[in-house]
């Protein structure tokens, strides 16, 4: 336990394959407590698999994962209590209303009733869902579902937040709320791991980022450190990312498509 002090997530030599496909290859990661850590990478680079392994949804073939000092393989239940997770495509119980869904989530995490209701109301108001909480989720837009899923993930005040593309489908105001919330929670010691394809967001939000490519870590550091690593100090993070993932020359593709 002591060895992990100050580190919310530690991955040691983690590998995972699905049949013939090697999703993650011998990955080592250390994420400090209170950090906002971005996982970047093209489609199929292993970001979602890494996140799902951290929260115990997918078991690694080899290696070890510790979350806030807890071995995810040995005590997945303890890890679940510590973590809040928003998947890329939130699947919810569409026959429940937004309020009923959040009430259910709160009960499952064992929240005290008064505190749970106060928190639900506070978060519904913050995300602009007030007045729609009694509508069935089947009638929600993608963005509203995403907001409900985010509220569900932070309802029990987790110590680690795992967000898979958290801002997709959100309107600018809600996206801003999520960004500010992540920073405020970081100040309280809550660690956030999130994946995104939008480099401006990673640049603006993340303390550190890890670039994954083909299931392997190709670079890690602060956005500034990555620019230096790629010897592109004046470039945007997007340009650095495209260089690191060997996808920089998109001009030919665009020309071919336009032609």
């Amino acid at each position: 336990m002591e060895a992990h002090k100050g580190r919310a997530v530690v991955l040691r030599s983690v590998s995972k394959s699905f049949g013939q496909i090697q999703a993650v290859r011998d990955l080592d990661l250390e994420i400090g407590s209170g950090a906002v850590y971005g996982l970047l990478g093209p489609n199929g680079s292993g970001k979602s698999t890494v996140m799902r392994m951290i929260i115990g949804l997918v078991r690694p073939d080899s290696g070890s994962i510790r979350v806030c000092g807890v071995d995810a393989g040995r005590d997945p239940m303890a890890v679940k209590r510590l973590v809040g997770y928003v998947p890329e495509e939130p699947h919810m119980y569409e026959y429940l209303t937004g309020f009923e869904y959040l009430d259910f989530i709160g009960d499952v995490y064992g929240l005290e009733r008064g505190a749970k209701l106060a928190r639900i109301e506070e978060l519904l108001a913050a995300f602009g869902l007030e007045g729609r909480e009694n509508d069935m989720i089947s009638g929600y837009s993608h963005g509203m579902k995403q907001k409900t899923a985010i509220i569900g993930a932070i309802l029990h005040r987790p110590r680690l937040l795992v967000f898979d593309e958290p801002l997709s489908g959100l309107d600018p105001k809600s996206a801003r709320i999520v960004k500010d919330l992540v920073h405020r929670l970081a100040g309280e010691g809550v660690t956030t791991v999130f994946s995104t394809h939008v480099m401006e967001i990673a640049d603006a939000v993340c303390d550190r980022v890890c670039v994954l490519f083909g299931g392997e870590k190709v670079a890690e550091g602060s956005p500034g450190e990555l620019r230096e690593l790629a010897e592109m100090p004046d470039s945007t993070l997007e340009e650095v990312f495209l260089t690191l993932t060997k996808a920089e020359d998109v001009r030919q593709i665009v020309e071919a498509l336009a032609g």
Binding site: E94, D103, I105, D107, V108, G110
Partner: protein
């Protein structure tokens, strides 16, 4: 209407359904090709013919009894196929989620209402084609044996018309349900959801009954006295055409055939008109009254010993049961069994002083079978009905035993309500000794617990989480296994009590204890299997 588009649409719907199956076995992989079903149907026809052939004495119609039985069967064939087609299309419709139906590509592609209705009906024909083929193959062998090949051809043709009739009826129901949902959605409120579910269940049960051959002939018996009066029931027109043919009345056969064709066309036209008028491709969203947010205390579920998380799961699943239209077929089961009991035994069997103890008990037993199957099916569906939202449970700090307890209780609670009604009817109308009543109560309750836990055990091992193109909740293998396990378990539970009465081997109290012990053993074993199954699912054994 473009026939080519309708056929193309039918093939795509069939493709989506067959490819949706999850199977690693070679046979499973093969079944993912839509043409496999057609080849299978084509092969099953001669196979059924050859299988039946050795059991009959030889051609020429030498056996008058067989000829009589055969003509009766062929008279019922069109109605039976209409029922089969209707049931299949209804089950498919009700297992499709409202959201999936609303986002269906047919809503935004340039496909006319007629093309859609025909395409959807052809898909139903495609899926039931193996059964139709088997029936026609087997009956052809009998036709050779009885020398009634003409009857076979005529009845077969009308049978195919019956299939279409059953499939077209779905469009009528689909549009009516959509219209009802829209009207109710505008009103909002919790009661709306319950009303919508009750209406759907009643509609499903009603259509299942009115397409039932047994019911139709009883109606004729009640109102007309003889089959000659059956012209008042349009669904029996194909049967009357066959009857007229058998009696050599060619004018009658022709008239009823034309009427049957007209009836099918009317159903098709009605389906078109109603769909064009009432179908609205919007997600059915209902605004409810705010959920009670005051102090809840431990509540009823807490008082029963459930933890907060278990109680939350139970509340969620009970809402699922009354709100999701995929649940309509499950809820319809006891209603249909009750209606069938009423039809089979006559509407006043229970309170008619002339009815004996056995008749009354038989009447209640039929309803009891519906309730037991309901409990079993709800439990069997318990894990799979989580669908893609199962991730919510996997990421939550929930123990497998807690999930299993909650799921079992969700199956038991509404079944207990049905069981209580049966007991109340027994006490009010059957009477008898209190020992008998007590024994029936104990055995019935044991059966319900046993059926629920057996269903959960199988459902936790064979869940189907997919929701598109339609929700299944449990795999085909799981459905078969659950049925195979439930029947002997239920029979062995009832056997001691039944035998104590029939053979006087044991006293009734002793037989009740034996039943209870057996049911408890099955229940405990099933519960353990269920917990380990849920644990495996929560741990994501597939990764």
């Amino acid at each position: 209407m473009r026939l080519r588009t309708a056929i193309r649409l039918a093939s795509v719907i069939a493709l989506a359904s067959t490819r949706g199956r999850r199977s690693g076995r070679a046979a499973g992989r093969l079944s993912k090709y839509p043409v496999t079903n057609l080849l299978f149907s084509a092969a099953i026809f001669p196979l059924a013919f050859l299988l039946v052939l050795p059991f009959i004495r030889g051609p020429g119609g030498g056996d008058p009894f067989l000829a009589l039985l055969y003509s009766q069967a062929m008279i019922s064939l069109p109605s039976f196929l209409a029922f089969l087609s209707m049931m299949y299309s209804f089950m498919t419709e009700f297992s499709q989620s409202a959201t999936a139906a609303s986002t269906d590509m047919v809503n935004w592609l340039p496909i006319t209402v007629g093309e859609f209705v025909l395409g959807s009906s052809l898909t139903t024909m495609y899926f039931i084609s193996p059964i139709v083929s088997a029936l026609l193959g087997a009956s052809l062998a009998l036709a050779f044996a009885t020398g009634m090949t003409g009857l076979w051809a005529f009845s077969g043709l009308l049978g195919l018309l019956g299939c279409l009739l059953g499939a077209f009826s779905l469009e009528v129901v689909r549009a009516l349900l959509n219209r009802t949902s829209q009207a109710l959605s505008r009103r909002g409120g919790h009661s709306v959801l319950v009303i919508r579910m009750i209406l759907s269940v009643l509609l499903f049960a009603t259509f299942s009954i009115i397409f039932n051959v047994n019911f139709l002939t009883r109606i004729v018996g009640w109102f007309a006295g003889s089959i000659r009066g059956a012209w008042i029931v349009p669904l029996l027109w194909p049967s009357l055409a066959i009857l007229s043919h058998l009696e050599g009345d060619l004018t009658g056969a022709l008239a009823y055939s034309i009427l049957s064709l007209a009836l099918t066309s009317v159903f098709f036209w009605f389906g078109l008109v109603l769909r064009a008028r009432y179908w609205a491709p919007e997600p059915v969203s209902v605004r409810l009254e705010p959920t009670r947010r005051g102090a809840r205390g431990r509540g009823l579920l807490g008082g029963l010993g459930f933890t907060g998380a278990e109680a939350a799961l139970i509340r969620k699943d009970l809402r699922s049961l009354v709100r999701r239209r995929e649940m309509v077929s499950l809820l319809s089961f006891p209603v249909m069994m009750t209606l069938m009991a009423l039809i089979n035994s006559g509407p006043n069997a229970l309170w008619d002083p002339a009815s004996g103890f056995e008749t009354k008990l038989g009447f209640l037993a039929q309803i009891g079978v519906g309730v037991i199957f309901f409990a079993n099916y709800v439990a069997l569906s318990g894990m799979g009905q989580e669908g893609e939202a199962f991730g919510n449970l996997r990421t939550a700090p929930l123990e497998a035993a807690a999930v299993a307890r909650a799921k079992a209780f969700v199956a038991l609670l509404p079944s207990l309500a049905g069981f209580a009604v049966i007991i109340a009817l027994y006490l009010a109308f059957v009477g008898g000794e209190w020992v008998t009543a007590f024994s029936i109560g104990v055995v019935g309750l044991s059966l319900l617990v046993e059926a629920s836990l057996l269903g959960l055990a199988v459902g936790s091992r064979f869940p189907d989480f997919r929701e598109t193109p339609r929700a299944r909740f449990f795999t085909f293998e799981g459905g078969i296994l659950s049925f195979i396990a439930l029947i002997p378990a239920a029979l062995l539970t009832v056997a001691p009590v039944y035998l104590s009465d029939a053979m006087n081997l044991l006293s009734l109290p002793a037989a009740t204890v034996v039943s209870l012990v057996f049911a408890s053993a099955v229940s405990v074993l099933s519960y353990r299997v269920a917990v380990s199954g849920v644990e495996r699912l929560l741990r994501n054994a597939s990764s």
